[in-house]
Amino acid sequence: MTKTVLIAEDEPFIVESLTFLLKKAGYGVESHGDGKAALDAIIARRPDLVLLDIMLPGINGFDLLRQLRGTPGLSRTPVIALTAKGQEADRQRMLELGADAFVTKPFSNKDLMIRIEALLADGGTSRAAAAGRTDG
C-alpha cells in the first residue's frame, strides 16, 4: 500500500521540490500552507509521516505538534520538523513536544529522504501497535 506524507509548509517552491522528491520516491503527497488546514487534514486522513515547518500561518508548528500529539491515534505519527540554522532553542522545543527528527534549512534532499525512509521503516510496526491500543 502507498505510504502518504503530509507537508505542512507555506513556501510554495519548497513545497514543490518536496512534492517532486516524495512522488519520485513513490509516496502519496498532500500539502497545506496553513497550520489549521494542515492539522485538520492530518486528523482526517492520518498520513504515515508529517513534514512540519515551524513558521506556519494559522497555527504555528509548535502548537500544531502539541495538538497533534494530544489527538488519540496520532501520538506516534512520525513528524520531521523543518527548522532554520542557528535556532537551537526551536529545535529543542520541537523535540520536547514530540518531533521525531528535524532537518535544517537549507537541507540536502538526500539526507531528508534517508530520514523519511528510516522513520517510516521504524514507525510502521510501532504505529500499528499503537493504533491497535488506542483506536481499537
Binding site: F13, S17, L21, K24, M55, A84, K105, P106, F107, S108
Partner: protein, 547 residues
C-alpha cells in the same frame, strides 16, 4: 602603593635640561650631596622642594611625583581585572608603567579600541536579534536558499527529468537567485544604517584624559579669567550685570527667555534660555558665552593637544574648558578657597554666597589645585537616575569607574531619594582605603508640567584624612562610626557578602579559600534570591558577546 622612582625622574629630567647635579642643587637651595641622595631614591621628596625642583626643571609636578603614572597604573589594573586577570597587583603595574610608559599607554589605548568594538558588536547583535525587518529578510533568505539548493540537487541527481520539468526547475532557481540578491541588498541597506548609531566612547575618554592630565587645573585660564573679571568690575560694577552688558555691547549677544526650549542655545544675536532657567544657570551660561568669545584663542591653544585625536574630542575639550572658564570667572579662585575653608566646604552655603548652583560650586572646588594654594583634593562624578555616569574627575587613590557603572551603594545613587539635602557617606573600599562621599540631587530648572523633570546626582569625594576639614565629616568624627563597605563596581569588587551585588566579581572573594569555586563566585548561598539569580545570567551573556 609602591614608592615611585621619583629620583630617577628628577635625574633624567635634569640631564635632559643639561643641568649638573650641583647646578640644580644650588638653584633649589639644597646641597649637591642631598640631591644625589634624592636622585637615588635614598631620601623622600615632596611638598615645596618637589615643586621648586619641578619649576626649575620646567616640568609638571604630577609628572615628577608620578601621579600621572599612578593613574595609568590604575587604568591598567582595572582593564586587567575586566579581563579576569585578578592576580595583577598594583605594585607591578606601577613598575611596568615606570619602566615602559609608552607600552602602558598603548595597552590602555588598545583596550579602549576593544571596548568600542565590543560595544559595536553588542549594538549590532541587539539589532540582529530584535529588528523585525532583519528577521523577516533572514527568513526570506533562508527560504530562497533552501529552494535553490533543493532544485539544484534535483537537476543534478535526477537524470530522467522531462524537458518541461527541467525548464520549470531551472527557472525557479533563476528566479529565487534574483530574489536572494534582492534580500541581500535589503540586508546591506539595513545594516549600513547602523553605522552612525554605534556610539564610540573615545572622544569622552580623551577629554577626561586631557583634563586629568592637567590635574583638573588650568593656570592660564584662571589668569585670563582673573584679568577679565577685574576689567569687567573695574568701576565697582556687579559682575553678572557687567557680563550681560559686555555680551550685548561688545558681542551683540542679548539674553532672553524663550518658551518651548529644552536647553539653552545661541540663535543669531540671541542667547536663548528655556523658561524656568534658575538664576545661577543663566549667569553661568552668560559667563560661558563670554569666555567663548573673549578667550577663544586661549581655548584653541589649550585644546591643541596630541591627546585629543579627533574633532569631536577637541570640541568636547573646548566645551569643558569653556565651562571651566565660566566657573573661574564667576567664582574667583582666592575668594572661593578662602570661603570654602571658612565654611568648611559646605557646598550649599558656598552656592548661596557666590550665587552659584550646587553643581557649579562642586565643580569649582575640584579645580582648586593651584600649587601652593590648593584646596582639598576632590573627585567629582555625576550620574543620572539610571546610574549612567558622566563628568568624572578622579583624584589620586580613588579609582573612578571608567569601564561601566559604579557601586550601587555609593551615596551618588542614594541622593536621588533625598532631594532636598546632600547625603554624606563615609565609605571603605575593599582594600581598606576610606573616603568621604557627599552627593546631592540636582535638577535642571523647573520645566513645564507635562515634561519629565531632568535630574542628576552630583557627588564630591575626598580622602577620609580630610574629614575634620569638612562640615560633612562631623557625623563621622566619632571613632565608633563604621564606614559603609563599598567597592568601585561589582566586577572589580571582592566583597562576597554584598546584598547589592548586580554582577559576579571577576576577582575571587578575599581571602580566597583553598578549593573555592573561582569559576562561579557570583552570590553567596544566603543571597540566592530571585534578583540575584536573574541578574547573574545577564552579564554572562554580555561577556560572551563581548569576548
Amino acid at each position: 602603593m609602591a614608592r615611585l622612582p621619583i629620583g630617577a625622574r628628577i635625574r633624567d629630567r635634569r640631564r635632559e635640561q643639561g643641568l649638573t647635579q650641583s647646578a640644580l642643587a644650588a638653584a633649589a637651595g639644597i646641597s649637591a650631596s642631598y640631591l644625589n641622595l634624592i636622585e637615588h631614591d635614598k631620601r623622600a621628596i615632596g611638598g615645596a622642594l618637589l615643586r621648586r625642583i619641578a619649576e626649575i626643571l620646567e616640568i609638571d609636578v604630577g609628572h615628577l611625583s608620578g601621579s600621572d603614572d599612578a593613574r595609568l597604573a590604575q587604568d591598567l589594573v582595572e582593564l586587567a581585572r575586566s579581563f579576569g586577570s585578578a592576580t595583577l597587583p598594583e605594585d607591578s603595574a606601577l613598575g611596568f608603567v615606570a619602566r615602559f610608559p609608552d607600552w602602558a599607554r598603548a595597552f590602555v589605548h588598545l583596550h579602549r579600541r576593544y571596548r568600542e568594538s565590543a560595544d559595536a558588536a553588542l549594538a549590532l547583535s541587539d539589532r540582529l536579534s530584535q529588528d523585525p525587518a532583519l528577521v523577516e529578510i533572514s527568513h526570506a533568505v533562508l527560504t530562497q536558499v533552501t529552494a535553490i539548493r533543493s532544485f539544484a540537487e534535483i537537476l543534478d541527481s535526477h537524470g530522467d527529468l522531462v524537458p518541461e520539468e527541467r525548464g520549470r526547475f531551472a527557472s525557479i532557481i533563476s528566479q529565487q537567485s534574483d530574489e536572494l540578491a534582492n534580500s541581500a541588498r535589503q540586508m546591506l541597506d539595513l545594516l549600513g544604517g547602523t553605522r552612525g548609531q554605534v556610539r564610540s566612547s573615545t572622544p569622552r575618554d580623551e577629554v577626561d584624559d586631557f583634563i586629568i592630565a592637567h590635574g583638573n587645573h588650568f593656570p592660564a585660564l584662571e589668569q585670563a579669567c582673573d584679568h577679565l573679571r577685574a576689567e569687567l568690575t573695574d568701576a565697582g560694577a556687579d559682575l553678572a550685570a557687567a557680563v550681560d552688558e559686555r555680551l550685548a555691547g561688545r558681542h551683540g549677544l542679548r539674553t532672553s527667555v524663550a518658551a518651548g526650549l529644552d536647553r539653552a542655545q545661541v540663535q543669531g544675536d540671541r542667547l536663548l534660555l528655556p523658561e524656568g532657567t534658575p538664576e545661577a544657570s543663566a549667569r553661568f551660561l552668560q559667563a560661558r558665552a563670554l569666555a567663548e568669545r573673549e578667550l577663544g584663542e586661549l581655548l584653541d591653544g589649550l585644546t591643541d593637544d596630541p591627546r585629543l585625536t579627533t574633532e569631536d574630542s577637541c570640541a568636547g575639550a573646548r566645551a569643558a574648558l569653556a565651562r571651566y572658564a565660566a566657573g573661574a570667572l564667576r567664582f574667583p579662585y582666592e575668594a572661593v578657597l578662602e570661603t570654602a575653608e571658612a565654611l568648611r566646604y559646605d557646598v550649599d552655603r558656598l552656592a548661596a554666597r557666590f550665587g552659584g548652583s550646587f553643581e557649579q560650586i562642586a565643580h569649582r572646588l575640584v579645580t582648586l589645585r593651584r600649587p601652593g594654594a590648593a584646596g582639598i583634593p576632590f573627585a567629582f562624578l555625576r550620574a543620572d537616575p539610571a546610574g549612567n555616569v558622566s563628568k568624572p574627575f578622579s583624584i589620586s587613590g580613588l579609582r573612578m569607574p571608567r569601564l561601566g557603572g559604579t557601586c550601587p551603594l555609593w551615596a551618588l545613587h542614594a541622593a536621588f531619594a533625598s532631594p532636598d539635602r546632600p547625603i554624606a557617606q563615609l565609605v571603605e573600599m575593599p582594600e581598606g582605603e576610606r573616603y568621604l562621599f557627599v552627593a546631592r540631587r540636582v535638577t535642571k530648572g523647573s520645566g513645564p508640567f507635562d515634561a519629565p523633570p531632568v535630574a542628576f546626582s552630583v557627588m564630591l569625594s575626598c580622602d577620609a584624612a580630610y574629614l575634620d576639614r569638612l562640615v560633612y565629616g562631623d557625623a563621622f568624627a566619632s571613632r565608633a562610626t563604621r564606614p559603609t563597605p563599598v567597592g568601585v563596581n561589582c566586577r572589580s569588587c571582592r566583597r562576597g557578602d554584598c546584598a547589592q551585588r548586580a554582577h559576579p566579581p571577576i576577582l575571587p572573594s578575599a581571602p580566597a579559600r583553598p578549593g573555592a569555586a573561582a569559576r562561579q563566585p557570583s552570590a553567596p548561598p544566603d543571597l540566592g534570591d530571585a534578583r540575584t539569580l536573574r541578574d547573574s545570567s545577564q552579564p554572562e551573556k554580555r561577556r560572551i558577546l563581548a569576548s
